[in-house]
């Protein structure tokens, strides 16, 4: 398992090195980039998904931090990896806009040393949670992928607590077939009751997974 990395992007060399130095003293993995395009180029070179958080300076050339953030969102990373902003200006509207797009935090320079580190650690925790959730989603998708199309269609009805007879009548199937499908669904998804199935489906729906299609959430 790869340890989460802090991807730090700041065009000021001094700030970049100092923060990297500080974070390394806290045993955190840091990769630094001098500009937005450099960061984006590195991301596009990934072959496998990486774990970590992004720390972006707001004022950069040629791409501002906010624009880099937009690029990250468009790559589907906005929901997997928390994004922190560093701002020397701390314009409130800019912060509001960034937060509205899902940024994790907006830090004003200069900051108290421990505040930054604590923030980083919280962001990393968040990343772990997000990663776990993504992993569950992936697992769920895989499980659902193992079901037949008919079983997928039956699943919401089972989760809703419908009786086998009712389901059979609605789906125009025999009760025995329905019983067989129910058993297979419970087995595959590793659940033991209709209630557990309902919880699982609700979680999937909240994550934006289209159960019927078996596709991951649209980015």
């Amino acid at each position: 398992m790869t340890t989460p990395t802090i991807y730090l992007c700041d065009d000021d060399e001094g700030v970049r090195s100092s923060i990297a130095f500080l974070l390394r003293q806290h045993d955190l993995n840091v990769l630094t980039y001098a500009s937005g395009p450099e960061l984006l180029a590195a991301l596009d070179a990934w072959t496998t998904p990486q774990r970590g958080i992004f720390v972006l300076d707001v004022r950069m050339e040629p791409l501002s931090g906010l624009q880099v953030h937009d690029a990250l969102i468009s790559r589907g990373l906005g929901t997997r990896m928390p994004v922190l902003f560093l701002s020397g200006h701390g314009d409130i509207p800019m912060a509001v806009a960034a937060m509205a797009k899902g940024a994790f935090h907006f830090v004003e320079k200069p900051y108290a040393d421990d505040a930054l580190v604590q923030l980083m650690e919280r962001a990393l925790e968040q990343e772990v949670q997000w990663h776990a959730r993504m992993a569950r989603h992936d697992a769920m998708l895989q499980l659902i992928a193992g079901l037949s199309r008919q079983q997928v269609r039956l699943m919401p009805l089972v989760a809703a607590g419908e009786l086998n007879k009712t389901i059979a009548w609605k789906m125009e199937l025999s009760v025995r077939t329905v019983e067989e499908h129910r058993r297979k669904i419970f087995e595959r998804l590793n659940v033991h009751s209709a209630a557990e199935l309902a919880t699982l489906l609700a979680e999937a729906r909240a994550a934006g997974i289209d159960i019927q299609q078996g596709t991951p959430p649209a980015t």
Partner: protein
């Protein structure tokens, strides 16, 4: 010099009736004259009749009187003859002589008798006495005219009837007698026979009398009639002097009336022309948005148009009635107006009836009457309150903007300073914190060193706090974001800078794409950006450069910046100046960098910071063919389906 106030020409066209009378009044004298003449003619006719009647009566009376006198004479003659016959002596041998010697007979012959014949009882002629036998007696042509005779019986003492005396006489002699000269002067007197033949006439045959005549039977001579004819015919009534005079008078009056009519027509035409002109003048005066006022030399109001009345809130009547007190609403002395009454006018402040003051521009010129004499002053007055208000408003707006720019500059300085200091401070904080951390992790860490590193970090943080606070104090005010269209903002900025643009001799072309999506911006901030860019563009075109064209364009962005899902609005400002000269955006927006002598070098930096605070971008590039184009992009409120640029 007193001049009568010019009354407003409120009297419109007269009513139909009076107009009718006015049109036909000129005939009245003629009609009256005709009536008068008719009366005179009637009177003349009547008078003529009366006169004729009177003449006729007097003629009758004269005839009767003549008749009576003639009869009387005849009676006298007859009586004389009878008296001669009574005392007639018996006939002697020379009866003729005897008869002629009789005194009565002789007197008779001398008087009127032509001859006297003495007949005896048996009607034999006894003797005859004739006038022509009398010595010195008048010769009378015998056989001339008709003679008449008188008969008287003779008698003597014994016999009552011895014969008779017959006296012959000429009636003409009787009638032509001088005794009736007064009649003969007036009338032709004729004695007519039974067959209407004229026996005797006082007039010769060639000259007949023309007037009226009257005849009556003349009893003294049987079978005769006496006729009197007026010698002169009375002229017919219409040839009398009064009638002739009246006709002449009528002709004169007619001519005079026709002349009068022509005169009236001319006057009416002139009046109509004058009325039209007056109406035009009034419409002109009333429609003019300029107040007009005429005053005499003493300052009394003569005239004011409606605009003027509205301006001061008084009616014309009130203005005229109240004298110079209101007429000169200038709070300063009225005499000044006369002294400096020049064509260029002067500005002053007047008070309206309701108490509020308003600014006016007064242009006065001499009011000259028909004789070319100055009788007062004519003034046109323009209310400039609104203009002044707008000027004031514009000035204040410019001030606000300038103020804002100054504040922004200061904020930008602080911001720049803060940013520049922030970076090293951040590094210091990070490094010291990192060092402190590294020291802490060593088992043999010197607590003093750790503390020192931590203190270093703390102080650096403190310094950062100070910088932050200063910046916060001087920073730009909070943005007031509101959704608005970019086009009016651009237009407003151009309008606001009109003065500078005109001064620089720059020609601005606006190409505003209609129907652009709204942007959510701080209005003043963006206006400041636009005016800043416009001002820069104007400044670079002040030189001897031939190009003076400034193109301002709005539209949707063709290439939205990097993967943006939002639509972008682009505003381009292209000048024909010397161009960027190879400088990139970074250099241009570097604080305190300026190509202008007196520039602060902050304008573009401020623009950029404002735009970036909106999430926007500022771009600059050279325009092919000379000049620079500054563009800025602002994200729209909502994503737009397609990005287009006209």
């Amino acid at each position: 010099m007193a001049t009568a106030p010019i009354a407003p020409h409120s009297d419109g066209p007269q009513s139909g009736r009076s107009a009718f009378w006015g049109r036909w009044l000129w005939v009245a004298p003629l009609l009256l004259s005709v009536a008068f003449t008719a009366l005179v003619v009637l009177w003349a006719q009547d008078n003529d009749k009366l006169e004729r009647e009177v003449a006729r009566r007097s003629m009758v009376a004269d005839t009767l009187s003549l008749d009576a006198q003639l009869t009387g004479r005849m009676e006298t003659e007859a009586t004389r003859l009878r008296s001669a016959a009574v005392h007639l002596p018996p006939a002697g041998p020379d009866a003729d002589r005897q008869l002629a010697n009789l005194p009565e007979i002789a007197a008779g012959l001398d008087r009127r008798w032509l001859s006297v014949l003495w007949l005896d009882v048996n009607n034999r002629i006894v003797g005859e006495a004739r006038r022509d036998q009398r010595p010195g007696g008048l010769r009378l042509a015998s056989g001339e005219g008709i003679t008449l005779h008188l008969v008287a019986p003779t008698s003597d003492a014994r016999r009552p009837q011895t014969g008779q005396l017959i006296a012959r006489y000429d009636p003409a002699d009787l009638i032509k007698s001088k005794d009736f000269w007064w009649l003969a002067a007036q009338y032709e007197v004729q004695l007519l026979g039974s067959q209407d033949q004229v026996i005797v006439s006082t007039e010769s045959a060639g000259r007949p009398a023309l007037g009226e005549s009257y005849e009556m039977a003349f009893i003294a001579i049987p079978d005769t009639r006496l006729r009197l004819t007026l010698r002169a015919r009375q002229p017919p009534w219409f040839t009398t002097l009064p009638v002739v005079l009246m006709v002449g008078f009528l002709a004169l009056i007619t001519a005079a009336t026709l002349l009068l009519r022509r005169q009236i027509n001319q006057v009416a035409r002139a009046e109509s022309a004058w009325r039209t002109e007056a109406a035009w003048r009034q419409s002109l005066e009333e429609s003019a948005l300029v107040g007009l006022r005429a005053r005499d030399l003493d300052g009394h109001l003569l005239f004011a148009n409606r605009t003027f009345c509205d301006m001061v809130g008084y009616t014309l009547e009130e203005l005229i009635a109240q004298g110079p007190a209101i007429n000169t609403p200038e709070p300063n002395q009225p005499g000044i107006a006369l002294q400096r009454a020049k064509r260029e006018g002067f500005e002053t402040r007047w008070r309206h009836r309701d108490g509020h003051f308003f600014d006016v521009m007064v242009f006065e010129s001499p009011l000259v009457d028909g004789l070319g004499q100055q009788v007062g002053w004519m003034a046109s007055i323009v209310d400039v309150t609104e203009r002044k208000r707008l000027e004031e408003l514009e000035r204040r707006q410019r001030e606000v903007l300038a103020n804002h720019a100054r504040l922004s500059t200061l904020g930008e300085v602080a911001s720049t300073l803060a940013h520049e200091l922030n970076q090293p401070l951040t590094s210091i904080v990070s490094y010291s914190a990192g060092i402190a951390r590294a020291l802490q992790r060593r088992p043999d860490a010197d607590p003093d060193l750790v503390a020192a590193a931590q203190a270093l970090s703390r102080h650096a943080t403190q310094a950062g706090g100070i910088v932050h606070r200063i910046r916060a104090r001087l920073a730009r005010r909070e943005l007031v974001l509101e959704a608005c269209d970019i086009n009016p903002l651009v237009a407003a900025a151009v309008t606001l800078l009109q003065r500078e643009i005109r001064r620089a001799g720059v020609e601005v072309t606006l190409e505003l794409t209609p129907g652009l999506p709204a942007v959510r911006v701080d209005r003043i901030g963006i206006e400041q950006v636009i005016s800043n860019l416009l001002r820069n563009a104007c400044d670079v075109m002040t030189g001897p450069n031939p190009g003076k064209k400034l193109l301002v364009r709005t539209g949707l962005c063709v290439e939205p910046p990097l993967d943006s899902v939002l639509g972008w609005i682009a505003v381009d400002i292209s000048d024909q100046g010397p161009g960027l000269g190879g400088r990139d955006m970074e250099t241009l927006t570097e604080p305190f960098f300026s190509t202008k002598q007196e520039g602060t070098g902050l304008g573009l930096a401020i623009c950029r910071s404002i735009l970036e605070s909106h999430g926007g971008v500022l771009h600059a590039q050279d325009v092919p063919g000379g000049g620079a184009r500054f563009s800025f992009f602002l994200p729209t409120e909502r994503p737009t389906p397609e990005a287009r640029m006209p």
